[in-house]
Amino acid sequence: MEENGHIVLKDVRKAFGPKHVLNGINISVPKGRSLVVIGGSGTGKSVMIKTILGIIRPDSGSITIGGEEVTKLSGKERDQFLLRFGMLFQGAALFDSLPVWENVAFGLIQGRNTPRIEARDIAIEKLRQVGLGPEVGALYPAELSGGMQKRVGLARAVAADPEIIFFDEPTTGLDPIMADVINNLIVDCVKRLGATTISITHDMASARKIADRIAMIHKGEIVWQGPARAVDSSGNPYVDQFIHGRAEGPIQMEVLKA
């Protein structure tokens, strides 16, 4: 594990009642690099990201961002800490009651007190960067297709030029062509900003495209991590089973156990 990581998780654990979701996660992401965490449904990927953001408080372990311990932050300190982040949610999580441009500009207006007119201009520019015209800014999220919502979610994630961006299942539910478009946009945006990123996905095409390093999570533990180019020759039975999508192997789905 790299000790000089921008984002470092050490022995992070989280249980919900008797269910242990994170069982001692250890990862390190250097500044400006992209880590993709792969793994099946219910293995703890989303919980891991939410513990870093402070949406879920870990039971134990250490999470440092730029060398600063963040698990104990609260109130204004946490709000300040969150200004450094952008996040693209699996379902885009756009605010239904706000037009698209205000969704994109939300973090600027509410979090950074940017004047609305200035924030609107930035939002229109960010929409342009993800391939959407200014006319889309006036629409409401319900009027957009799934792919367009993901683009707007991406524009919102990068609107404030964050130093860290999380992508939660960025291509889930999209057709392969739109998924590739989103992957390209993610790579472009991340390169432009020089941001440190963690993505979680079970789409291997997406992982190969956007990752510098890949980590595999299973039952709340990182069972393998290495450079993205090494994923096909990892020699790890969990990784091999996952990337080839085989039912047989060490990973047994809950439905097969019953």
């Binding site: 939410k50 953001l53 402070g54 949406i55 709000d79 300040q80 969150l82 200004l83 982040f85 952008g86 996040m87 949610f89 699996q90 379902g91 999580a93 756009l94 605010f95 239904d96 939300f106 973090g107 509410q110 979090g111 950074r112 919102r156 999380f166």
Partner: protein, 257 residues
């Protein structure tokens, strides 16, 4: 033995729920009602809670005032007390029926809507998205709704009181043969400021209960569409029960000698 075990489980679940509501109340007060204040959100919620509830609250008050006048007239005729119609309608509406019926109607309309909206935001990760955008959901979502509820319910009840008394007046003068001037004079002479303010105080408390319960159940909903539906039902039921309980407690408190 099974009965006792089941009873124990129910009591424990109830206590746990009360504990969760108290913790939510603490967060709502300490986080939601302290700066930063989202004025735009408060005004928007006042419009949704207050202005949009006017038709349903107004109609309820009008028909209740009319029905009350008829009942008092018919009941009072048994002991020659028909002349009390205007006074009892005014007292009944301002002290009890105005705030309670408006509270229950708003609980059904607004409490359900708040729970459904926040519940959907919860299950579609919009509340998590707010957090990642450095915006405290208690300040942005809960605080403005509670402030709007506490401000607008007394205004709504003030309007409901007026419409309810008008309902009684119309029935009294058109159907029951009361003299218009005498009806208004009796209403004004026997109605005290305390009667109105006690109702408005109740309304503010009911506004707090409705918005708090709507936010609590919406905020904690889980499990997709079914969870949102459950949150909506729970918000309305818990608001209605708490309004009736609070009404009894406030009546005891405000009118104790």
């Amino acid at each position: 033995m099974n009965f006792l075990a089941n009873l124990g489980r129910v009591v424990l679940a109830l206590l746990a729920e009360i504990g969760r509501i108290v913790i939510f109340l603490k967060d709502a007060l300490l986080q939601g009602l302290t700066p930063t204040i989202y004025v735009r959100q408060i005004l928007e919620q006042m419009l949704r809670i207050g202005y949009n509830s006017l038709p349903v609250v107004g109609l309820t008050a009008f028909f209740t005032g009319g029905a009350l006048a008829l009942q008092i007239y018919l009941g009072g005729s048994r002991f020659n007390a028909e002349s009390l119609v205007s006074t009892i309608v005014a007292l009944g509406i301002t002290r009890e029926l105005g705030p309670v019926l408006a509270g229950l109607m708003v609980a059904g309309r607004v409490g359900a809507s708040i729970a459904a909206e926040l519940g959907t935001m919860r299950v579609t990760e919009q509340i998590d998205a707010l957090t990642t955008l450095a915006t405290n959901p208690f300040k942005y979502l809960v605080g403005p709704r509670i402030v709007a509820g506490v401000i607008t319910l007394p205004i709504l009840v003030g309007i409901a009181d007026t419409i309810g008394i008008m309902g009684g007046y119309i029935v009294g003068t058109r159907s029951l043969g009361f003299n218009s001037f005498a009806y208004i004079k009796n209403t004004v002479d026997f109605l005290h400021l305390d009667d109105v303010t006690s109702g408005l105080i109740k309304a503010a408390v009911f506004g707090f209960i409705i918005t708090l319960m709507g936010c609590y159940h919406g905020f904690n909903s889980k499990g997709g569409a079914q969870g949102v539906g459950r949150a909506t039902t729970n918000a309305v039921v818990s608001s209605a029960i708490l309004i009736l309980a609070a009404n009894f407690a406030l009546t005891s408190l405000l009118f104790s000698e």
